[in-house]
């Protein structure tokens, strides 16, 4: 059975309407919040700016690391949730299908139109996104850039591979890392993320 993205989107939209008595949305094993992408983009891109010239690489690394840690914990929680067992589990036929399930959840969360283009077990994952909210937000606020700006999705792409082919949770974090060779902020038609085994 193929992964039914529409069914997953429906489950996320319905689930996000349910709040507990504390005003918190518990869904897919995590606490979910809904907030404007403008907030997240300003945090990332102003952080980079505030770090100053000469520290761009450090800022980029910190943002990617924060996202990869998050993606690792988040999708570990998602994969072990009753919602996953009930909704996504029946669609999973092999280990690699989990990546398709993860990307369907990411699409449902409003992160962009993620599409898995290539997956080589234990080696390589290629994801393309033609409308990442990070690239869209950067272009709107700052215009073009010389390097990729989708730090959240870059970290998350690495985390997907960590969860599938890294050591058992929580020891597999950073087994993989992702690059973003193509990004719309550089004038490319879409953003592309390639996750491979970390070299360190």
């Amino acid at each position: 059975m193929a992964i039914d993205g529409i069914k997953i989107i429906h489950a996320v939209m319905e689930g996000s309407l349910i709040r507990d008595r504390k005003g918190i949305i518990p869904l897919f094993g995590v606490y979910l919040s809904l907030f404007f992408v403008q907030y997240y983009n300003r945090l990332s891109f102003d952080f980079e700016k505030k770090m100053g010239k000469g520290r761009e690489d450090e800022a980029e690394a910190l943002l990617i690391e924060a996202a990869q840690e998050c993606g690792y914990a988040t999708f570990h929680g998602i994969r072990n949730s009753w919602e996953w067992d009930e909704i996504v589990g029946p669609m999973i036929e092999n280990k690699e299908d989990q990546i398709l399930g993860f990307t369907a959840v990411a699409v449902a969360f409003g992160w962009g139109d993620l599409e898995v283009k290539e997956l080589i077990a234990k080696e390589k994952l290629v994801i393309q996104v033609s409308d990442s909210y990070e690239a869209t937000g950067y272009i709107k606020r700052h215009g073009s850039a010389n390097s990729g700006k989708c730090y959240m999705l870059r970290g998350v792409a690495g985390a997907f591979m960590d969860l599938l082919y890294g050591d058992d949770y929580p020891d597999g974090l950073f087994a993989f890392s992702a690059e973003e060779p193509l990004c719309r902020v550089k004038g490319d038609p879409y953003c592309e993320f390639i996750a491979q085994r970390s070299s360190y």
């Binding site: 996000s16 005003g23 995590v30 606490y31 945090l43 924060a66 969360f109 409308d131």
Partner: protein, 173 residues
Amino acid sequence: MLIDWRSDLARDGHRVFISGLPIAMHCHHYNINLHKTLEDTLREGGVQLLYKAAEEASFIGFQSFLNQYDRIKTIKSKLELAATIYQNCGLGIIHFKKVGPHGGEIVSLSSHHVTGWLAKHGRRKTPGCHFARGWIAGVMAVIYDRQLGYYTVEEQACKMMRSNECIFRVMEN
């Protein structure tokens, strides 16, 4: 019911909107990781960035809501709407206890950021609801028809420090 949340929270394919503005769903892992990264790296500069980013986004977002619901005109109903949106977005419970155009006191008994911070890092030594402070400053400016940045919000007690509630003091700049 002040609003129709089912239609306010809308999708167009992979995009999600609230009141016509693009949103993303993120969990406590990402929100708290960003918070900690900014705070650990930039110290007060990171705290200010978290506050200002939340203030700007809530200011624009709440303006959009009021434009959409133009029948909501009284201060009381605008405050009620703000608290409802906060809860519907999974951000927590907020009570505008004693507020007016010159500021006031706001109490939160629970929040996404408090729950997330305590789950990931445990008790803090300093108040940590920078997002909530900025969010309050933004909506207060809209409710009392002031410009962005008109109010300053301080946190006088914080559940991240194991206080019983988060208490925010709103002041004019």
